[in-house]
């Protein structure tokens, strides 16, 4: 056997590719499902918290700031393990999928709140004053005047942070969520061959390389428009 054949035998064995691609495919479906769910709830929660913070009530702001700082400082895997192993001990049974969705949503919400908030405060004070002087309420001013201006500034950092958090879906493998990595590693130990692992890795590359490229395109485009 030549070196190349041996390499192919260990990493790209055709019959193993044929046998395991349905598993990898179902893993892709799970990864995409979690990613979409996390993006929706994470961004929505982050935006909601930033809007609440704009009312500048000390009572609401202190917990928001603590929450944001905590989830920005804590490694997501640590939070995942605390929730995954802690809740059953309290008699709350929750699936690995739900834990992953919950924790990653909170992480994304924390980062998104910070980004939305800096976008909101970057809108000049005169915009608030002009809108309020025509009788618009705080909420109307926020939704019609401030956020449309703030969100433009937020798009590039938000895109990059969203991509970073969705990449963390791979952490689900640690708590047995059947996403791509989990399918790949269990097929690897079943078959005693690295081919399924390579398939999983390729699946990530295929999904995320275009997403990352899109992210840097957005970043450059918006940077150029602002200049």
């Amino acid at each position: 056997m030549t070196g190349l054949e041996r390499f192919q035998d260990a990493f790209l064995k055709p019959e193993l590719i044929a046998r395991y691609w349905p598993d990898i495919l179902s893993g892709i479906a799970v990864t995409l499902e979690i990613a979409v769910a996390v993006v929706i709830t994470g961004l929505a929660l982050g935006l909601a918290l930033a809007v609440i913070r704009s009312y500048r009530s000390r009572l609401a702001n202190a917990p928001i700031i603590v929450f944001v700082d905590m989830f920005r400082a804590l490694p997501p895997l640590v939070a995942i393990l605390i929730v995954y192993f802690g809740l059953p001990n309290l008699g709350i049974n929750i699936s690995g999928f739900a834990v992953l969705w919950l924790v990653l949503s909170l992480v994304l919400a924390a980062f998104a709140e910070e980004i939305f908030w800096s976008g909101i405060v970057s809108v000049r004070k005169g915009q608030w004053e002009a809108a309020r002087s025509t009788g618009l309420t705080h909420w109307q001013t926020m939704t019609s005047v401030i956020l449309p201006q703030a969100i433009r500034i937020c798009v590039p950092p938000l895109t990059n942070r969203t991509i970073a958090v969705t990449k963390n879906t791979a952490l689900g493998t640690v708590i047995g969520v059947g996403e791509i990595m989990n399918q790949g590693t269990s097929a690897m130990s079943l078959s005693g061959n690295a081919t399924p692992l390579m398939m999983a890795a390729v699946a990530y590359v295929v999904i995320f390389v275009p997403v990352v490229a899109l992210g840097s395109w957005i970043e450059r485009r918006f940077a150029w428009k602002r200049a």
């Binding site: 260990a10 490694p75 640590v78 963390n168 990595m181 690295a194």
Partner: protein, 221 residues
Amino acid sequence: MEIFLFQFLNFDIMRQAWPIIFGGAQMTLLLCLAVIPLGLAGGLVVATGSISHSRALRLVTKAYVDFFRAVPPLVLLIVIYSGLPFAGIRMTPFTAVCIAFLLNASSFYGEIFRAGIESVGKGQWEAARSTGLTWVQTYRHVVLPQASRNVLPDLVSNTVEVIKLTSIASVVSFTELLYAADMARSVTYNTSPIVLAAFLYLIVLWPIVRLVSRLEHRLGH
């Protein structure tokens, strides 16, 4: 409430688990001391490649950066640690983690350094070269100091991400903080050891996260 405190803030269990968790914390520190300099150095190399006059070199660095920014670090780590032995390449968890972090962190640091270098005006290059400094001298003494200063918040914030990321080394059985805490959890059937580990992460990282938002609010926008 009582059961919550028992499960998450059990000081007896925390006290028992402390020696093993403290050992893990030291390993995490060691890991950080290895992977942060590796990532920064790799990032400088990548950034230098991405501003090179050679088109080929620029393309290669761009492909490298795009690729390793796209692959989730955990995937990279597992491929290196569990995949490479099939090619006869075996290594300790520590080495595997270092390699994975070098590849991952250098691509992120590289992009940050590149943005910093591009933020330094052309005039700086021209002024330095006109006084007889070589390209390397200009790069090192004139451009890089300004570049790093301009992107300091991003460098610090990425370093926070790297420190947080060291927790994935637990997946390949490297006995860092999270691995030690999880071991204590599985022995005690109690979540408090992981909560204790979380506190340790927070004690170190919370002030840095505060600092980063300050820096960003002051320099940005």
